[in-house]
């Protein structure tokens, strides 16, 4: 099949459905990313400051999620939990699974960022009479948060890419919509090309954004 053999009209005809799928992909990714940011910030701070109990529980959460495949986590939430009487809709399973996954990776990103803040900065703030909480908000967070920025955006990109796995539980995001259209029309190549180009456009834009932010928010060399 050459470029000329692609049925462009077919793609145009199915554009509304594909856009609806893309919208669901973006909604799920946005909820997942926002949640992963909050989880990573809170648990990353708890890990870096070794807050008893919370820190240990967060460590277990991080290790379990990072050492098991996200697809199995999705199946566990969607097919395993109903046995305990917990029934999640495909939509809730969708955003919850990518949120839990992204939160674990982000906890590590933020922990590493906060721990990379030189000790003397914290000590200086405490000596100036900042309370521990204000020290975190005014010193550790702005510096450590910037160190964690690039790796955390990489995690957000992975969260977006992982929403494509939700096709396995039949959630009608972009990949799933394209497969449903192919199932009745047999136009697999057209649909998958559209899907691939869409993902690349989003992922490449976000990667470019990282480079831009890194240049803009880079810590001064003489820190």
């Amino acid at each position: 099949m050459t470029l000329a053999a692609i049925d462009w009209d077919f793609i145009v005809d199915n554009l509304p459905e594909l856009l609806a799928g893309l919208r669901r992909t973006l909604v799920v990714a946005t909820i997942g990313i926002a949640g992963a940011f909050l989880v990573g910030l809170v648990l990353g701070a708890a890990r870096a400051h070794r807050i008893p109990v919370v820190s240990q529980l967060a460590a277990v959460y991080v290790e379990v999620i990072r050492n098991t495949p996200i697809l199995v986590q999705i199946f566990f939430l969607f097919f395993g939990l109903p046995q305990l009487g917990i029934r999640l809709s495909p939509f809730v399973t969708a955003w919850l699974s990518v949120l839990i996954w992204g939160g674990a990776y982000n906890t590590e990103n933020f922990r590493a960022g906060f721990e990379a803040v030189p000790r003397r900065f914290r000590e200086a703030a405490l000596a100036l009479g900042f309370t521990p909480r204000r020290t975190f908000v005014n010193v550790t967070l702005p510096i450590g948060g910037r160190i964690a920025l690039a790796p955390s955006i990489n995690t957000y990109i992975s969260v977006l890419k992982n929403t494509s796995l939700l096709t396995a539980i039949g959630y009608a995001e972009l990949t799933n919509v394209s497969r449903s259209i192919s199932a009745v029309t047999f136009k697999d190549a057209e649909m998958l090309l559209v899907v691939a180009v869409t993902y690349l456009a989003i992922v490449w834009t976000l990667s470019a954004l990282i480079r831009l932010l890194e240049a803009r928010l880079a810590l001064p060399r003489t820190a």
Partner: protein, 219 residues
Amino acid sequence: MPDWVRPVAEYILKEGLKETLRMAGLAVAGSAVIGILLGTLLTIRFLPSRALIRLYVEVWRGLPIIVTIFLIFFALPSLDIRFSAFQAATIGLVLWGSAQVAEATRGAVESIPREQHEAAAALGFGWVGRHVNVILPQALRRLLPSMVGLLVNVIQNTTIAAIIGVAEVLETGNRSVERLTFTSFESHAFEIFAGVMAIFFIISFPLTRLAAYLERRLI
């Protein structure tokens, strides 16, 4: 132990785990060979080759692996290129993995001091001899932690093959759930998927520890 556990565990461990490990082994080996070659070539300052390899890396790293596997399994047949589900999934993982390795290799090769190149050149090595005998052995040492990390990721990503029907660990778990639902009206999905998670955890956890240890040791 209830009656249903034994046949399910045997099916998942004997059939499923074997497929998972076979696919992971092939995918990691393929990714390493192609990735190290492309990564080394990426350090040559020749624009056309660099642009091509860059494109390869950015495309296969940028696409969700499931979309890559779908392209191979569902779209290539329209070009009369047909692969089995196992082959399609393995190739998809190799494309993704080799892009990761290429990027890591480029970094590792470029981190070898200039003097090493110059000394090797002064001893009369050509480009190939210099890289094979002097630069790559040093670069591979620095690459080791990320190769172990890749192994963990590839093992976990083999589960994506379940979506196109490869009977690896997750898919054998799935089929067990379906069979139990039909025969006994109790799916036991909770225990089975928890078990599948446990299998992956038992394999991955020591490897991620090893990767972290190597990172501390070698750098």
